[in-house]
């Protein structure tokens, strides 16, 4: 129907006229625009170029607060607070010379620092990062800041800046877990884990602050202000807001952590509380501890030296994961597994304990010289017979490659990294003939490997070096049916309102493949050690209403030095829940110092009312 209207000659005069009108309009518009451009660019170009050059931008970084670190119940362990820092801008500080010296003088007076220190600090930072403001003092009191603000003319290039500082409300409690936050180094900037971090930003440098930095650090915002050629602000430009870091919730229970720290008191030692099946850490501490709040600011060199000095017990050192020690009789658990799996004994093979064993002209004695007579594995663990284990150490040395104990120690996680989510973990050492002979060849030790070394190893003495955490992993493996867990602190990532953003699943466990009957026999022995008459820690746990299995350890540290006290416990041995390990470097017998500590910790763990052991048993192990 409508097609007939659509056939027409190519062009009508009417259409031609209308196209001409549109074309004429376009021509006029193009002409106007061309003239306008001519006017703007050719005739007034100089003026606009001057305007453009007068337009300048200064970018101000808006620091993002880091995420908060919480304990398993959501209690804040690491918080943020706002402090004022005094900084100097590299582009506005007077050039080196008299004026700059005078500025340092005034700054030192106002901030109560030595002018030489001010100079050293500023120049060092400006040398390292020439385009970033150098911090003169972090966390300055308000009167000093307002004095500087009021006398701005005397302080060219000096400006206060609000900074977020870490705040540790519980001070010494858990100090070793959190670690420190510091300015990113240039080497770190090249690493992929610091993508998005820029010069001058603060990142986690140790502890979980380091391990979970990716989540904890926020995104800094930017404020751009337009300034004229004289640096006077003319206008706020777009601002990108900072985003606070995510909150990190740990498996740590603050109460247990506190009790563990208090139990250690001023002693040098460590404790670990770990879930036996998952490896989740509930408490982990080292003593002496320190107040991490001093790291929130720029730490003084004097403080740093004090915290790392040997005389003060190196408070910064995290003994629970970094210190390797001989573990004394607590190591008998490892020897037991090796002997059973290596076929040296069955759970019921009796061996004779006459109080001492002669090997190659050397007499190895029971602690205290007691004789336990003929006994099998369970009883040997319960009463902690050394001779029983000397015999196993001797037999292991003569069997096959002679590395039976060493191999099983490794399989149980001793002498290797546990893989905990904390940096700078210690590896420890399980001595082998090869290791000692190599040292001997380099003249680093007085003698090559001998059978005596293996006998010493069987009861956890000699060159053995185990971290408290590794011992906890070995005990957890026996308790949970043969799975080597990987200890971990991080539970999940939350936003500021507590909504879960990411849940960390328990990391994979490695199966150690141990006969369940052997594990049961060892557990029986450990239950006996803490409960049966004659058990090494029975006296300590008398009247304690939480069922436990546990092993004492007393490591000899050489002539003239106090013995190191150890205790490793498993709660609810029928269906194991937690492994608790405690040690005191100079605590004496295991039952004397470490076992009561473990009792206190377990009481806190289960919220049990407990007044502690009635008497401290003088039982040797």
């Amino acid at each position: 129907m409508y097609l007939d209207t659509d056939n027409r000659p190519p062009i009508t005069p009417q259409l031609a006229f209308r196209v001409a009108v549109i074309g004429g309009f376009a021509l006029v518009m193009f002409a106007i625009i061309f003239f306008r451009l001519w006017y703007l660019q050719i005739l007034s170009g100089d003026k606009y170029l001057a305007d453009a050059n007068n337009n300048r931008v200064r970018e101000i970084k808006v620091q993002a607060p880091r995420g908060v670190i919480l304990d398993r119940h959501g209690r804040v362990m690491v918080d943020n607070r706002v402090g004022l820092a005094i900084k100097v801008r590299p582009d506005e500080i007077p050039p080196p010379g008299r004026e700059r010296r005078a500025l340092y003088e005034r700054l030192g007076k106002t901030l109560r620092l030595k002018p030489a220190d001010v100079r050293k600090r500023v120049e060092e930072q400006l040398r390292a990062q020439p385009f970033v403001s150098a911090t003169v003092k972090q966390d300055v009191e308000f009167p000093a800041v307002s004095y500087i603000a009021e006398h701005a003319r005397d302080f060219p290039g000096v400006e206060p800046e609000a900074v977020f500082l870490r705040d540790y409300p519980h001070r010494e409690i858990g100090a070793h877990l959190f670690g420190t936050v510091g300015e990113v180094t240039e080497e770190q900037l090249d690493q992929s884990r610091y993508r998005g971090v820029s010069l001058g930003d603060r990142v986690g440098q140790s502890g979980v602050e380091y391990s979970y930095d990716r989540f904890l650090r926020g995104e800094n915002g930017k404020k751009r202000v337009q300034v004229d050629a004289l640096g006077v602000k003319t206008r706020d430009l777009r601002e990108t807001e900072s985003r606070q870091g995510r909150n990190l919730r740990l498996g740590i229970d603050l109460d247990v952590q506190r009790v563990g720290q208090q139990a250690l008191g001023t002693s040098r030692g460590a404790f670990v509380v770990m879930h036996a099946k998952t490896g989740e850490i509930v408490a982990l501490g080292s003593s002496p501890s320190f107040d991490p709040n001093i790291f929130a600011k720029i730490i003084r060199e004097r403080d740093f030296r004090r915290l790392s000095s040997e005389e003060n017990g190196k408070p910064l050192f995290n003994r629970a994961i970094q210190a390797g020690y001989p573990t004394g009789s607590t190591f008998k658990l490892v020897t037991s597994v090796a002997a059973l799996e290596g076929g040296l004994i069955t759970p019921d093979t009796p061996l004779f304990d006459g109080g001492s064993l002669q090997v190659g002209g050397v007499t190895f004695k029971n602690a205290g010289g007691v004789s336990h007579g003929s006994l099998a594995l369970r009883q040997a663990l319960t009463v902690s017979s050394d001779v029983f284990y000397y015999r196993l150490g001797l037999a292991a040395n003569n069997k096959g490659s002679g590395l039976l104990i060493q191999d099983w120690a490794k399989r149980l996680g001793i002498g290797r990294l546990t893989g905990i989510d904390l940096p700078a973990e210690g590896q420890g050492l399980v001595p082998t003939p090869e290791w000692r002979n190599r040292l001997y060849k380099k003249d680093l030790t007085d003698r090559p490997w001998s059978v005596g070394d293996n006998i010493n190893l069987s009861i956890g003495q000699g060159d053995l070096s185990v971290t408290p955490l590794q011992l906890a992993v070995a005990y957890a493996t026996v308790a949970n049916g043969g799975y080597v867990v990987r200890p971990h602190l991080g539970r999940r990532i939350e936003d500021a309102d507590g909504r879960v953003l990411q849940e960390f699943e328990a990391p994979g466990r490695r199966k150690a493949d141990i006969d369940p009957a052997y594990l049961q026999a060892i557990m029986d022995g450990l239950v006996g050690a803490a409960n049966a008459p004659g058990g090494t820690s029975t006296a300590v746990f008398q009247g304690f209403n939480i069922p436990i299995a546990g092993k004492t350890g007393t490591a000899e540290k050489g002539l003239g030095r106090a013995d190191q006290s150890w205790y490793a416990a498993i709660t609810y041995p029928e269906d194991p829940q937690y492994v608790v390990v405690a040690t005191d470097e100079a605590g004496g017998f295991g039952a004397e110092r470490a076992a009561p500590m473990v009792r206190q910790i377990i009481a806190a763990l289960y919220d049990a009312k407990d007044d502690g052991p009635e008497t401290v048993g003088r039982v040797v192990d």
Binding site: R8, V19, I33, Q41, K47, L49, R238
Partner: protein
């Protein structure tokens, strides 16, 4: 054997000649203008946006190149297709326009905020952009249906109503620029078709009254038709220095950028207005100011010349079309291109209000690039069809 080979050779030759003829029938200058503008766009975006997305300096360039590639394919496809067949689909095309614009409202309401696009996996589809071409196709068909009754006022008012419905919908999105483009399109189509002058005079009067009501009378009695910022933008160009903090700021920065380019530009490194973000939206609405700053009067003149070439070819195609439908389509497309070029460029040089209209083929944006190439493809189709009809009738086109 030899004979078969030669027969095959003849077939191939014949095929080649046919497709060669097709290609020859494309308007080469129109193609050159479109591709030239696209090249300018990619080059300008490359220098202007390298610091915009942290970590990926080619973010916009890569995306714009992909849009260009798809757009060019779309254009070549449309060129081979006889546009006349679309006339019968007018109701469907009009329905799609209204439905897709309506869909934005529904999705926007679901996201509790106003939006102009539909989120697709690979890009943000802007129905108001596609609506420009669909509306040209549908309105031209409606006009042809009533071509014998163009003198009736009813015809003019009906066509106007058909255009006003989508126009009001996009203005409410709020996308004032696209709404104005729709009105320019319908006015031009009516004009090309031959609507009497008296009708245009009446429409002009109505428009003046409407503007008065929207800008003056309605606010006075407390009814807001345009959002405050839209009014500010529309009136800022009258006196940009009045309030540099607000709308005039963008305009001042744009003029400063263009002026500072002088004869041959400041080069991409020295272009502080662009590089330091003084120039807002420098990859979309204010891309012409970037050209002005970086490449100066020379660069701006080249870009404007390419636009002039594009519009000249569109006007020429309007006159050679084999049927009136083609002329109306070409007229509508011409209006769409002209309006956007003049309003956008006029805005950056401070002689037109700020309305948020993209510069065709130069501004960054998938919907705009694809739709503009589609429109150029339709122009090519009209050109090819005209040539083929002329060839079939055995006569030369006079134009």
């Amino acid at each position: 054997m030899a004979a078969a080979q030669s027969a095959f050779g003849t077939a191939v030759k014949g095929f080649r000649e046919e497709s060669a003829a097709r290609i020859v029938r494309i308007d080469v200058l129109l193609l050159v203008a479109a591709l030239g503008l696209m090249a300018c766009s990619i080059y300008t975006l490359g220098t202007a946006t390298e610091d915009d997305v942290e970590g990926s300096p080619y973010y916009y360039v890569v995306r714009q190149s992909v849009y260009a590639g798809v757009g060019i394919a779309l254009m070549l496809l449309a060129a081979r297709f006889d546009y006349s067949r679309l006339r019968e689909l007018k109701l469907g095309l009009y329905g799609v326009t209204i439905a897709s614009i309506g869909l934005v409202f529904l999705l926007g309401a679901a996201a509790r905020g106003s939006r102009r696009w539909i989120e697709l996996p690979f890009f943000r589809f802007q129905p108001s952009e596609l609506g420009k071409v669909l509306l040209i196709l549908a309105l031209s068909a409606f006009v042809i249906d009533r071509i014998r009754r163009l003198q009736d006022r009813e015809t003019t008012s009906r066509i106007m109503l058909l255009a006003l419905i989508p126009a009001i919908m996009v203005v409410a999105q709020p996308d004032l620029g696209s709404g104005l483009v729709y009105l320019a399109i319908v006015a031009t189509i009516l004009f090309v078709a031959g609507t009497p002058w008296t009708h245009f005079a009446a429409l002009g009067g109505l428009t003046a009254a409407a503007v008065t009501i929207v800008l003056v009378a309605a606010p006075a009695v407390g009814v807001t038709v345009l959002k405050d910022y839209q009014v500010d933008r529309l009136t800022a160009f009258i006196n940009p220095s009045d309030d540099p903090q607000e709308q005039g700021y963008q305009l001042n920065q744009s003029i400063t950028a263009i002026g500072s380019g002088q004869k041959t530009g400041r080069g991409s490194d020295q272009a502080t207005q662009t590089k330091l973000d003084f120039l807002p939206e420098h990859h979309t609405d204010f891309v012409f100011a970037v050209v002005g700053e970086e490449f100066g009067f020379a660069g701006a003149a080249i870009v404007l010349s390419l636009f002039a070439l594009l519009i000249w070819r569109a006007l020429r195609i309007m006159t050679m079309s084999k049927n009136l439908y083609g002329s109306l389509l070409a007229g509508g497309i011409c209006a769409m291109l002209m309006f956007q070029v003049f309003v956008n460029v006029g805005m950056t040089v401070g002689i037109m209000p700020i309305t948020g209209v993209p510069l065709p083929l130069l501004s960054y944006g998938g919907s705009s690039v694809l739709v503009t190439f589609l429109a150029v493809g339709l122009l090519q189709s009209i050109h090819v069809q005209a040539r083929e009809t002329a060839a079939a009738k055995g006569r030369e086109l006079i134009v």
